[in-house]
Symmetry: none
Subunit: 430 residues, 2 copies
């Protein structure tokens, strides 16, 4: 197997040092590098000052073959990273015409005035390879530089700190370049996505299977709000690709009988996209009636491009007046059983089918918290209902005391309820 | 003004380097240090190996007066941090009786058998001051050590990596000790939150003011989806508290005339909470009619506990049938001008006031992308409307080609439009 490439990730920004913003970049980058078989040996955060950045670069080039730098770019950062890289490499700044054109068109498109400050974003260190940023105005940069007495070659990548721009540049430009540049081992992943079972219960069910995994196939549990993703990672050399794929498929075949009832998808599947696929297959339109989730489920569904093909819409009935007026919930039901009750959530789901002209609907009503709990209906008491052309099913969730978590768990359990109904729905179509 | 104490935070753990877990400790620690007036000059993450940890300690003691180390403790980590600290300080390991008692009682309480491995958790480097951990079995440790030729005194703190244990130890034991040990300066923050103006344009407007800031008051730009936060940080000695607050207030007074129209709040204000506050003050109920935002705005509003006091609900009219049936949009308008038009979004906002029984509503209709664009209505073409009891205002947004970003920017600009209407609404109440 090829030798391990060592990487250091350097994050630049006072706001990170002072704990003012959460650095989501570093974890994302090291995960991507790990997937490429590149080993992150150090993560470093420094402030917006040239001396600290220089010190970090000098320390890093002694231990790393690859140095990825994020942040410290853009007008308000005084482009400290670019200037410091000039000092570090001992080169001057040169205006890049391609970059200038891109920055200009970026402002033209938005019909905005362009300042001289914006123009300087097209200036790069003389030895930089310009990496086109189609997602913002700060350029990406790639450097090759010899360090130490033996003149070891080190690769430097400089990216903007804005997560959206950094991730787009990495995915579309840098990761493919890294695979070319470094002879990295082959890493194959297979993700099994489960919902509705806790990590430890899952672990118990598959313990024997897990213990029997060969050493070159590793398993990771990735829990996330009602879901647990099982990530299988197989490592081998470039010639093993086909074998690794086959071995991963075999392991999935072995484990499915143990956990199949909880598996909703694989790899990049999400609950909302799996539900979307089933709706399209069956030619059914979906809609939601949301009280305690406040539109979060609709927002999850519509995050997916093309969701208009299977999503009619939602009625977020936060006020009881909307439950009655738009969803046709019986005021007597609200008076007798309350908004958080099986009777109300059932009428919400059925009313949404009529109001939205949807074939299948999901309704939620509960106490998300932190306030509003009562002895018989404590915070975390949430009813969900799914209405289809031939039946309405309901379920009571007893969740915790944290509002965000309750909203996200209700969304996961709710969408899974819709998935189960769709799988059982072969009998009806719209 | 007292001299700034420089801190480095070192996180130990392969799982962090490989991106398998999110490191929430470092941000939390540096925020706490910032509040104490201790300046974090470097954040470092290394793996569970002695050489890397030693290297990190040697680099850190040259630039820091305080080194806080988390992780690398406990049986599963082979207590690598404790062993490496012994090497680093050149001392042996000594069993601490108080710690042993605590570990023992911890196991007795849980009725679990105690192994020799568990007993070694009570072993500490000879020069360690034992910091009692009442929240777990791994001990906290405090060291004072002379480094360099001048024998500068550096403080080392070693804590378990489990966030709950680390935070409990910091809050209850370490932070008070740090305040005693270091004569820390006072740091005061003031955050000015703007929306609807780009970072570079903001920078140009306040350039003269920024250049005139006194050296002990620093400014940081923190951009985030249509918003830019301006963070003022003032530093002084313990006796200056009142003066610093006054100086920050004066700087805010100076800058407001330049950017007031874009400022929606201060410090912890969020757009949705500011809108919520204005609604409560005016006794008005809010609602949304969402097409391209798909319920995201409603979800943002209802994230806030108690939002039911001012939020009626939302009609997510993804399908035109819902725009007509629930919002009363005229089919002729849809046929003539299309769903993405000023005429349609205006009727959506006004229809939502009736359907939801809301006083003020926000409507969105646009092409979020990536598909669905046409030459005259490219992706990113988004109409928003705000309807109040006495008028309806509309605005055309020309955004980029990225769906998530378009949804979040539309939410920011939309909520800001509602805020502006509420500020102009002193004339009417529900």
């Amino acid at each position: 197997m090829t030798e391990m490439v060592r990487a250091e990730v350097i994050t630049i920004g006072d706001e990170i040092l002072f704990g003012q913003i959460t650095d989501t970049n570093t974890q994302w980058i090291s995960t991507e590098l790990t997937n490429l078989g590149i080993r992150t040996v150090r993560k470093t955060s420094v402030g917006d000052g040239a001396p600290a950045i220089l010190e970090a670069l000098q320390e890093a080039h002694n231990r790393a073959d690859l140095i990825i730098i994020t942040g410290g770019l853009g007008p308000t950062k005084d482009d400290i990273t670019k200037k410091t890289l000039c000092t570090y490499f001992g080169v001057g700044m040169v205006r890049n015409e391609v970059a200038l054109e891109l920055v200009t068109s970026f402002f033209v498109k938005r019909g905005r005035e362009m300042t001289d400050l914006n123009r300087t974003q097209a200036d790069l260190p003389a030895n930089a390879e310009y990496i086109q940023n189609d997602w913002g105005t700060a350029p990406g940069m790639w450097f090759e530089h010899q360090v130490g007495n033996n003149g070891r070659s080190v690769v430097y990548v400089s990216l903007p700190g804005v997560p959206f721009e950094m991730k787009s540049l990495m995915k579309n430009r840098i990761l493919p370049k890294l695979q070319e540049r470094f002879e990295t081992p082959i890493i194959k992943h297979k993700m099994i996505r489960t919902v509705g079972i806790g990590e430890s219960f899952l672990a118990e069910r598959i313990e024997a299977w897990e213990d029997a995994l060969p050493p070159h196939i590793r398993l990771a549990y990735l829990p996330h709000f009602g879901q647990v993703r099982l990530r299988l990672t197989a490592t081998g050399s470039a010639t093993d690709t086909a074998r690794l794929d086959r071995e991963l498929a075999e392991q999935v075949d072995k484990v499915m009988p143990l956990i199949g009832e909880y598996v909703f998808g694989f790899d990049t599947d999400e609950l909302e996209t799996v539900v979307g696929r089933l709706l399209v297959e069956r030619g059914l339109m979906f809609g939601t009636a949301e009280s305690c989730t406040g539109g979060y489920i609709a927002a999850q569904i519509t995050k997916t491009p093309g969701s208009s093909a299977y999503f009619q819409g939602s009625i977020v009935s936060y006020a009881n007046a909307v439950k009655v007026g738009q969803l046709g919930v019986d005021p007597a039901t609200l008076a007798e059983h309350g908004a958080v009750s099986e009777q109300t959530v059932r009428q919400m789901a059925e009313g949404a089918r009529r109001a939205l002209g949807a074939d299948i609907t999901l309704a939620t009503s509960g106490i998300a918290g932190p306030d509003g709990g009562t002895p018989d209906k404590p915070v975390g008491t949430i009813w969900i209902a799914c209405a289809t052309p031939d039946r309405t099913v309901t379920r009571l969730l007893r969740l915790g005391q944290y509002r965000d978590q309750n909203i996200q768990l209700t969304t996961a359990y709710g969408l899974n309820m819709v998935r189960e109904q769709l799988l059982a729905s072969s009998t009806y179509t719209s």
